[in-house]
């Protein structure tokens, strides 16, 4: 553990010192892995334990009689399947709409240097600091007047606007990566502006569009605050909101079903995130540093 804070990029002088440093580095790495993995492994382990094992004062690391009972009970107690379907609809809707709306704007931001593009960039930066408290009450009132409160469509709208800034950042990067020369060549060949965009730029953007859509999907799938405030009736609620129903009013929770439902809710985000993690990192960095 000793050396994990010390940068050690070049070689250390003596072989003994080097071995000690290496040992320290591996110890630190191992500590990190344990810190990262343990809560998650414990959640999984808890999800497969029998009620009797959960009640024992010395909980086992690995369930001795693994059971699916908690999963069954979780589905019996709360409308998990329905909530997952709601989440899926909202997340898909938000992803598709966000990409459709963001792509033209990102194109302008990437290719033009007018006051419009500058203003848009400024807004993207500011939106990173968006004060949810100040926005949620008026939004609640606005959506109520539009009769979009307690509806999945209203939530999709909110999520679209909410994921737009970051989607724009990612897309601007992807558009810049498409060489202008290609568009110029198409223009020389007599293709109109729209033709050029659709037949030359769009296909090259496809991976970027997919990554951006996946990002918007995970954001919406995971979101809780807006969903909690805007969705009132249980049959409209998304998965994160329904998960909190497992925790009773007094904060008492039935650990087994709670752990089972929580593990299941993570799977889609984990899968999607594994696909796009690298792209989000680069988007985050350009967004943060170049602002």
């Amino acid at each position: 553990m000793r050396n994990h804070r010390t940068p050690r990029t070049a070689t250390t002088p003596s072989p003994a010192g080097r071995t000690a440093a290496r040992a320290g580095q591996y110890a630190a790495l191992l500590a990190y892995l344990v810190f990262l993995a343990f809560p998650f492994l414990w959640l999984l382990s808890t999800a497969f334990k029998t009620p009797r094992e959960l009640g024992s004062l010395h909980p086992a690391w690995i369930p001795r009689h693994p059971t699916l009972g908690n999963f069954r009970q979780a589905f019996d107690e709360q409308p998990l399947l329905h909530a997952a379907l709601n989440s899926l609809l909202v997340a898909l809707g938000a992803a598709v709409v966000a990409v459709l709306l963001a792509t033209p704007m990102a194109y302008v931001m990437a290719r033009h240097r007018g006051p419009l593009a500058r203003a848009a960039t400024g807004w993207v930066v500011i939106s990173q600091a968006f004060p949810f408290v100040l926005v949620i009450i008026p939004l609640f009132l606005v959506l109520k007047n539009l009769r979009l409160i307690d509806s999945l469509a209203g939530l999709v709208l909110v999520y679209v606007v909410w994921s737009l800034p970051f989607a724009l950042w990612m897309l601007v990067g992807y558009v810049r990566a498409v060489p202008v020369e290609l568009e110029e060549a198409a223009a020389v060949d007599g293709a109109g502006r729209l033709r050029t965009l659709v037949s030359v730029t769009a296909p090259l953007l496809a991976p970027g569009l997919a990554a951006t859509a996946l990002f918007a999907f995970v954001t919406a799938w995971n979101e809780f605050f807006f969903a909690l405030v805007l969705l009132k009736t249980p049959e409209h609620q998304t998965l994160p909101v329904v998960l909190t129903h497992f925790i009773g009013a007094e904060g008492v929770a039935d650990l087994g079903p709670l752990a089972a439902a929580a593990s299941l809710a993570t799977l889609p985000s984990l899968l999607v995130f594994a696909l796009i993690q690298r792209r989000i990192t680069s988007g985050l960095l350009t967004g943060a540093v170049k602002s």
Binding site: L36, R113, G114, I137, A187, A288
Partner: protein, 303 residues
């Protein structure tokens, strides 16, 4: 060559502003309607006595909400807790992430595992992170107490219900949840550092600390500042994690400003008052941003 320059025009040069507007509008309209509009509306609400579900007309009451906030001890308590939380999460997270990024920048065997695992906290819904740590902290069936019992350090503590332990316990979860993201950002920043500079500094006999200060840090600084500013702002806006872990309890010891405002607005229906709270938080965020920008400008002068 002139033909190329001419060909450049249609795509390379800015088209008419009208075309640009046409492309921007689909995103701009929802943005104006659903984020800029509500933001301004919220600023107005802060000066009214708006309440949910009442029939009387909403009245303009000037700065009365802000006056009330000044004298609201519960608000100041939540403000203080919010500061402890934001700094308590951001600072250790940054230091840990910096150490880890430097570590993962090395040629180590298990590096891939760290990178693969880092996805877990990052991708998890915050609600699930909260639930997971409730399971970990559970007084009887939790892994933390069981580990402590194994090590002979007692155990049986109810971490999330203890008046003294709740806030630290919640802060640990906050650090856990954001650690990978911060680490990965710093790691990416580190990989911009030119290797030759390190080698040259090492040949010159510079120690590890000196090499860090003179070679690594100047390159890393913009990334470090940016990620820290973002983390601070995100932490000021935190809600889901603590809502699930403690719901502000015990006795309000973990009632972050967002939880306080949520209760005011959606439990007690005090829309105007909660909007005023929102204004205060916006001011705090603006100050954070200003400090961050000042830091960046100073960095620009150095170089």
């Amino acid at each position: 060559m002139t033909s190329v320059a001419e060909a450049r025009r249609p795509a390379g040069r800015p088209a008419t502003d009208r075309a640009a507007w046409f492309l921007v509008l689909p995103a701009l309209i929802p943005i104006l309607l659903l984020s800029v509009g509500p933001l301004l509306y919220g600023l107005l609400l802060a000066f009214t006595d708006a309440q949910s579900g009442r029939t009387a007309a909403t009245r303009w009451i000037g700065g009365l909400n802000f006056q009330d906030l000044l004298h609201d001890t519960l608000f100041w308590e939540s403000f203080r807790i919010g500061l402890v939380w934001a700094v308590g999460v951001t600072l250790p997270q940054f230091l840990l992430a910096l150490g880890l990024a430097l570590l993962l920048d090395q040629d180590l065997r298990l590096r891939w595992a760290a990178r693969a695992l880092a996805i877990v906290p990052w991708a998890m819904p915050e609600v699930v992170v909260g639930i997971m740590w409730r399971v970990v902290y559970n007084p009887d069936a939790g892994v933390l107490n069981e580990t402590l019992r194994h090590l002979g350090l007692g155990g049986g503590r109810d971490w999330l219900s203890g008046l003294g332990t709740a806030l630290p316990a919640v802060i640990v979860v906050g650090v856990w949840a954001g650690l990978p993201q911060t680490t990965v950002a710093l790691l990416a920043g580190l990989q911009n550092t030119p290797r030759e500079l390190h080698e040259a500094a090492a040949v010159d006999g510079a120690g590890a600390w000196r090499r860090f200060r003179t070679v690594t840090w100047p390159v890393l600084r913009p990334v470090a500042l940016a990620i820290t500013a973002l983390n601070l702002i995100w932490n000021v806006n935190s809600f889901a994690l603590v809502y699930v872990l403690t719901n502000g309890g015990p006795g309000g010891k973990t009632r972050l400003p967002m939880l306080f405002a949520y209760e005011e607005a959606f439990r007690y229906g005090q829309f105007g008052y909660a909007a005023a709270m929102g204004c205060v938080m916006v001011a705090v965020i603006a100050i954070l941003l200003a400090v961050f920008l000042a830091g960046r400008l100073r960095g620009g002068d150095d170089t």
